[in-house]
Symmetry: D2
Subunit: 344 residues, 4 copies
């Protein structure tokens, strides 16, 4: 059994980790931390866990975390980098669901996150946690920085096109729509039901923290820097990301897009290329770790439209983290992740 610790268990990615790990056959959750909820049983805070966990929140403590095989950070940025060095030094493996170790260019990270990075050396060592790109490196990593939610949906949709150099890498447009859970469980007026339901809006149109992360990943796939316009939208639903990805074919002759996508992801357990002409719905992945993708070429023109959907809390966060853990510990990659999407 892999002994698991979770730092920061009171947010949505924390409770989602607990949901997935409750049915994982090879894992035992040993520690879950929260400064504010010390002593509270996780099942009292999240009643869906009643009958599945007896665990209570404890104050973060290096000793107890160091006794784990792996520690998940389900925390806002800045927390993981404050504890990672000591845990790494003690041989614990780390899976960070936050942003601390995702961006290799530390000054760029500092610019977007408005924070000094306290362990740039670990950034260098960290492996970017997108299994469809980095499976081998993840297997041997001590510290994995899981891909963010928008970055996961966007990269998986663009990868086949950029890896093959089929589209103009200077003019990528990612129009992304996210459910409200992407904004977290903190009390704020902006994410009240009365402020977000029955409405749609863009936000961060002039710049969002996931932009540099997506650019980094797409640049790696393309083998050179890419030009990307990324506009996220807040959508009146709890879960789900829908990425609508536009790019322009360099050569108007059809490169066999459907086949290209099917082949690229043929061996991926959690990427499902839909039949030609499909429009994936976010609800088809609600609660599950799948990314569903379809490719369109409207009016046979030179613009390619890729539709890519995930559950932001699963493949966009906690499910991806479990998938990464499975790879790191040599477990079956799908262990604990055989959840069927909840539909309707």
């Amino acid at each position: 059994m892999v002994r698991v610790g979770i730092v920061g268990g009171t947010g949505y990615t924390g409770v989602e980790l607990l949901r997935l790990l409750a049915n994982h056959p090879e894992v035992s959750v040993e520690v879950i931390t929260s400064r504010s909820e010390e002593g509270v049983r996780v099942a009292d805070m999240f009643p869906n866990l009643r009958g599945h966990y007896d665990l209570a929140f404890t104050v973060p403590d290096i000793e107890r975390l160091a006794a784990c095989d792996v520690v998940f950070f389900a925390t806002p940025h800045g927390v993981a980098m404050s504890m990672a060095p000591e845990l790494v030094a003690r041989g614990v493996r780390i899976i960070d669901l936050g942003a601390d170790f995702r961006i290799k260019d530390v000054p760029l990270w500092e610019k977007w996150y408005k924070l000094e990075h306290t362990c740039p050396d670990l950034v260098e060592k960290a492996v970017y946690g997108l299994p469809e790109v980095n499976r081998e490196a993840i297997a041997g990593a001590q510290l994995v920085a899981c891909a963010g939610c928008y970055p996961t949906a966007t990269q998986l949709g663009y990868l086949p096109l950029l890896e093959q150099g089929l589209v103009d890498h200077r003019r990528l447009i990612a129009d992304c729509k996210s459910g409200v859970s992407g904004a977290g469980r903190g009390a704020s007026v902006g994410t009240l039901l009365c402020e977000t339901s029955e409405s749609m809006k863009a936000y961060g149109a002039s710049g969002h923290r996931h932009l540099p992360e997506i650019r980094q990943g797409l640049g790696n796939a393309a083998g050179r820097p890419v030009g990307l316009t990324f506009v996220p939208h807040l959508t009146p639903m709890i879960r789900g990301i829908h990425a609508t990805l536009y790019s322009v074919l360099k050569d108007p002759v059809d490169p066999g897009l459907q086949q290209l996508f099917e082949e690229r992801f043929a061996n991926e357990p959690f990427v499902d290329v839909m039949p030609a002409g499909s429009h994936p719905e976010t609800r088809s992945v609600k609660g599950s770790n799948y990314c569903r993708i379809s490719v369109h070429r409207p009016q046979d023109d030179d613009t390619v439209v890729v539709l890519s959907v995930i559950d932001n809390l699963v493949k966009g966060a906690s499910g991806q983290a479990v998938q990464v853990m499975n790879i790191m510990f040599g477990l079956k990659e799908t262990a604990g992740l055989n959840v069927v999407g909840l539909m309707p």
Copy 2:
């Protein structure tokens, strides 16, 4: 492996059965029928099932169904009674999620369902499928009529009070709220998003088909006929039933209500009595087979308020059916049902 057939797989209870059975370790779904969708793969109709099923819908056929160990009917009333006699004759066990065999008083059934019953003898043989009341009879049954959604939430909430004779059985009021999926997947103006979201309404205030079923169950618990006012409400959400159950204590001395409920359900794997003072949320059981209950006695007066929540598609339909199947076939009662509620 239990060989399973499903009649009527295109509605919400059908796809929900498939979701639950996909992860059931002892079951193989052999047949799923639909007249209108013959030849369509279930995963093409319900994309959440992609990667879990290769099965396609076939026209209902007695031979193929008779080769199963058990056949689920996830059909509107009237269908099960038309096929049950032949399947029963051939030794197949039947679990009906519909209403055909729930009410022992056949003329009463005919009055509410406006249909002549074609096999009243099977009604007599049928066991009412509410495990918390009938576990032993279910184990030996050939034909089980699963309890309906409102009846499940309502009976589980009232049982401890009526079995002990603590409340006035003549004045029961069940104010119930259901998500829209309770109305099924048929095309109708009344259940469009634009007609049901951002609104709340009662319906069937003067009489709803679940009334005689609930009365029958409560009457059995009380040992005599009960007086019940039952008002269902349509609530702007997909899943969930919230039953708010009012009754009047015969004796104003506190009978230890919290303890009574805890003891009554101490050995029930899917009934969770919440701590005193709690208010269960339907989302805590979203996708799971739990019924969560709490008991209140406002201002220490003589009115008892029981709050009882289920997912209408799980404990109120398909999950209950799987639980019943587990009991009938001597499997672990929780097999396939260890799903944690999806929260948020």
Copy 3:
């Protein structure tokens, strides 16, 4: 033109007042206060008001408020009572949307609101703002305490029955469902979209602040104290209250309930008794000042079920306040309130 001041304009009842007053032909909003948003234009905070108001928030100031003919308090309890005495002394008329002056029994108020009342003498003078009960007194009042949201829906539904003494006043059950806007615009985890949508729950089952207010109003109608069980529920929608009201007829002979209700409200511009057999939907009053009511007597038994719906922000708050103002200033009672409900 009636010169209007609004204290506390940043909550939902404040912006709703502004929405309604924007089209009121006889009113000019002169002042709107907010300590936290001083200097911010109301239309910058609430973009729906762009093009309708140039007004900016100012810090509460007695001089400026005293220059108004009427001041609305759209504030949490405790604020109105701190400013009312001085404004009253200066001859300003006051309409309080909050709870400070609703309950005549001051110690009872202090018990439920956990606050010492600082001007009990004004409580005595205050007129309870439910026009369907108190129209004449409102016309001459200097200080009106508008009825709360649950109390409005509940009282209007019970009034005909209690005024005529037709039902057992000791056993009233009000099962009420409210949209989330009833909880206000404050940042809190409990009213986030991710915590409230796709879920239904009761709250305050053991006691809610509107209980004593409702009891007072129903007691006045019945001419003696009533016994009431009141259970509010949080419903996944923005606006709307649905009250389902149970009571028991003293005499089983049908007293002509439909006619009774129609006659009681025949001259009420904002109470609409629906045809027999109807089920009013909250969306039919979304944005409008109507209360829609229907009466049922299930199975012709002795239990009466009244269904009463309002928009909690309109007839349950700001619309009622405007109706009260119209009465106080001798304007047409429907002025500014001819809004048709937004459906769908």
Copy 4:
């Protein structure tokens, strides 16, 4: 008073016309037709209209319609063209909310709508009903083809850029999100609450009927044919369209985008250019006739992002039709349209 007839009053644009016209000071609705609902009072079908209309549906009858000054068609395509010639011949003015007369290229219309056009001559005469482009022509028109919902949001957002020739007209990308009411009030599985809430999906990615209409309008603005990729998305809300419009500046020097937009719409009563940096929310126009627009230039790069929101049933349909009527009859353009958006 302008005597109004409405053909096809049972859909969402029909009831929305009635809502807006109920408070229009210069209009009297004389006839409303429906074959299926003959004799039913509109207020019985749409209870939000109770107290505002006594009118009942009648079977379409040319005589009665010909007695009106203007007839609105709130019908699916194909209906208006079957009745328009006779009404036009009798001097009645026509406002079509449907698609029959929007596209000047009749064979193109026939290709997308899969129907033979029965009065191409009227197409030629018809004026395209987008006041911000065609005000003068509308004033003198006998037949106006109101702009569609997506076309309105999209054209208003692109107009300033294309009219000034600032962006590459060959590479326009309109990523549009619509509430479910855009799909109408017909019974269909695809628009059930259980199929559309808690989900986001694209549809018609390979081609949607509004594409040729948008292209025609943008081509007119640009003075030459444009290249447009248009991807509509179904969003889990009742009302609202959010258009996110991408284009590439020809000259990287900032042309003063904010000022350009403000000046273009300075005299438009229903187009509201938001302050620089804003993100308009669809809820800010819920129930109102505004189009709210903001312009972004992310990272000062050469891609321009315009955000444009409307209520699809108001500025995208019935409100626009009323605005058009006001212009045609020389009334105040805002008459009946001073509705403040419903927020929250």
